[in-house]
């Protein structure tokens, strides 16, 4: 019963995905329903998370399904907000398939018994939410990077195709990559700091832990990308490839945390 809103969210995202792809690739001049479907899906997903939180009597990220759905919801919210602000009406064709896949994964994933709350619950929530927001930012940067590479390829084919016309300009995509990476990096940094304080307060060693090492690797990679962008003028396809590479690392870390419990993250129920 609790998963009914999640099924409805998946259906909305499914409709949005089809509409977004049809808008991007179809021949006919049709309006895309992807933003509306994304908004409706987000509302259902939020309902599910509230329901889950009440059932767990904890923040939804305490459960791995909750964490996954919270991540999908953060992407959906960013997508709807961006769709309103940007002229990039085909963004749904890139974002909604990913959001749909995450939502569906949550439907088929088994819940884990949540770990009892600690006295540092607020710090746990800050750590989890910022980690998810950071991954959300990196995900959007990667989606924009994929769109950038598609647009770059279209421009090099030298044809004014429908696909080319419906995509955002390279300049807009580049700005989206930069902002999403910067925001993701900021959130990820806060998450790492909160996690370190949490580990210290619980007297848990953080050195030698594979999740910590992996997280630092992701953080360093994005720090290098941002530094190169700001100081060494790294732009274009190279930035796009690096952004996609960085997100692959971050996503792999997130997926591993959903299935493998290391010593540190047992306390967060992950």
């Amino acid at each position: 019963m609790i998963r009914v809103p999640l099924i409805l969210a998946a259906c909305s995202y499914g409709v949005g995905t089809v509409s977004g792809l049809y808008y991007l690739l179809g021949r006919a001049e049709r309006r895309s329903f992807a933003p509306t479907a994304g908004l409706v899906g987000a509302i259902f997903q939020f309902t599910f998370l509230v329901w889950l939180g009440v059932a767990l009597r904890d923040f939804p990220s305490a459960d791995r399904v909750g964490a996954l759905e919270l991540f999908a919801l953060s992407l959906a919210v960013i997508y709807v907000a961006l769709e309103q602000r940007m002229k990039f009406k085909a963004l749904g064709a890139f974002a909604l398939p990913v959001i749909l896949a995450l939502t569906l994964a949550g439907l088929f994933l088994e819940s884990r018994a949540p770990v009892p709350a600690t006295e540092h619950e607020l710090l746990v929530i800050v750590h989890a939410v910022c980690a998810l927001a950071g991954c959300g930012g990196f995900a959007f940067a990667a989606l924009a990077a994929v769109a950038y590479l598609v647009q770059d390829r279209q421009l090099r084919l030298k044809l004014l195709t429908r696909l080319l016309e419906r995509m955002a300009s390279l300049d807009e995509l580049d700005r989206l990559i930069r902002r999403a990476t910067a925001l993701g990096f900021l959130a990820f940094t806060i998450s790492l700091i909160a996690g370190s304080i949490l580990a210290a307060s619980l007297s848990r060693p953080i050195f030698g832990n594979w999740v910590v090492a992996w997280s630092i690797l992701v953080w360093v990679l994005y720090a290098v990308v941002l530094h190169l962008r700001l100081n060494a003028s790294l732009r274009g396809r190279r930035v796009a490839y690096l952004t996609i590479g960085g997100f692959t690392l971050a996503a792999a870390l997130f997926v591993c945390l959903l299935f493998v419990q290391d010593n540190l993250h047992k306390l967060a129920g992950g």
Binding site: Q151, L155, S169, L170, D171, S233, R235, R237
Partner: protein, 419 residues
């Protein structure tokens, strides 16, 4: 009443003749009123564009349309009819209607599917209306034409895509930079092709212009009207990094821009992309430049290929456009027939009403012993009688107006009732 059009366009007349026949806008109202002084021309409108001069008119039945309108058109510009006549074309009735619908839809334009002519047709109609030379027929004709063109543009892809080299170049620039308002265009060479492409870029919002030419004076001529900056070709390398869009069109027999120059410019502009439009033949830009990350190079063949593709796609839309025009022509003709039928019905009613009144005037004075009430009954009976007699013919007339009946039907009815 018949609708006719006589005129010349880019297919039938040279640009010299089109220039001679073109009427300045401020003279149009007077010209239109002069045309309508002729008692055989009831309504008129003049469509004057750079590619055509056409006189649309509603003329009386039986008038030699070509003879009448061609003379009128030549006389407006004081031209010898013999010099104009071979280039003139005439369309009458349904053909004239379909012609205007095609013109308004851009199907008769030099660039198939262009939308500028729609505004020109609207303007021609407004000029004629404000000059008071349009009536029921031309008002309906132009309104239907505007409606037909609107349908053609919205229901088909006839106006989709870019159909000029300049507009294609601007579209590529927009796909790279989004808004062009903060962008700088560097024009290398001050020839006509570069100037035309620059015009398109300026229309799309480019604000800053740098013109590089072998002779700085010529560069200044092109740059100054746009508040731009003129430099010599030897300074090109020093200014290249400032340009977001490079338009190159020199007659140099060798490459003006090399990959190393652009690589250096990219470094100086912190790898911000550069769009290079090489519209020179032979080319000014080394094709190897396209390999650089951040450089988007388009030569004249690339741009013309897009234009050709757009026009090919538009050609494919022509049958769909013609189908819409056919529907709209039929709708217009039905409306015109309903005017004819309406006029005929009114005339028929008037004719029978006169007979009724005459008969009552003959009868009533003779009926001295009849009461006032009975007189009224007799008048009512006469009225009911005429109404019932006319009911069936009027129904048939309305039916024929709605259908595509032969025009001679109305003539037969007129003769039958001596109208």
């Amino acid at each position: 009443m018949r609708i006719a059009v006589v005129g010349i366009n880019h297919r039938t007349a040279s640009v010299e003749l089109r220039e001679k026949l073109a009427i300045p806008e401020h003279e149009l109202p007077d010209c239109l009123r002069t045309v309508c002084v002729d008692p055989e021309i009831a309504e008129s409108a003049l469509l004057v564009t750079c590619n055509r001069v056409e006189l649309y008119a509603a003329i009386r039945e039986g008038v030699d349309a070509f003879g009448k309108l061609s003379v009128v058109l030549a006389r407006i510009r004081s031209l010898d009819i013999g010099s104009v006549s071979p280039s003139l074309y005439l369309h009458t009735d349904a053909e004239a209607v379909a012609h205007l619908f095609r013109v308004a839809s851009g199907l008769d334009s030099m660039v198939l599917g262009e939308t500028e002519v729609l505004g020109q047709v609207r303007h021609a109609y407004e000029m004629a209306r404000s000059a008071g030379t349009t009536g029921r027929f031309l008002n309906a004709l132009f309104q239907h034409a505007l409606n037909a063109a609107k349908r053609v543009h919205t229901e088909t892809a006839i106006s989709r895509g870019r159909a000029s080299v300049g507009s294609v170049a601007v579209e590529f620039a927009c796909r790279v930079f989004g808004s062009l308002s903060e962008r700088t265009a560097l024009v290398i060479g001050a020839g006509e092709a570069a100037s035309l492409t620059l015009e398109s870029a300026l229309e799309a919002g480019v604000r800053k212009v740098i013109v590089a030419n072998r002779t700085v004076a010529r560069a200044q001529e092109l740059a100054e009207p746009h508040g731009g900056e003129a430099i010599s070709l030897s300074e090109l390398e020093a200014h290249l990094h400032r340009a977001d869009i490079v338009i190159s069109s020199t007659s140099a027999p060798h490459f003006i821009l090399s990959p190393s120059q652009l690589e250096q410019a990219l470094r100086r502009r912190r790898r911000e992309p550069i769009l290079v439009l090489d519209i020179a033949v032979p080319r000014d830009v080394d094709p190897a430049v396209a390999e650089l990350d951040g450089v988007y190079l388009y030569d004249i063949d690339d741009l013309q290929a897009v234009v050709a593709e757009t026009l090919r796609r538009r050609e494919q839309e022509v049958p769909a456009c013609e189908a819409i025009i056919e529907q709209e022509v039929l709708a217009f003709l039905a409306e015109v027939r309903s005017y004819d039928a309406g006029e005929l019905i009114s005339a028929l009613n008037r004719s029978v009403e006169e007979i009724r009144r005459a008969e009552l005037e003959w009868l009533l004075p003779k009926l001295t012993s009849v009461s006032e009430e009975d007189r009224k009954r007799i008048e009512q009976m006469a009225e009911r009688l005429t109404r019932k007699i006319l009911h069936s013919p009027i129904e048939v007339l309305r039916q024929h107006a709605a259908e595509d009946s032969h025009p001679s039907f109305f003539e037969t009815v007129k003769r039958l009732f001596r109208i």
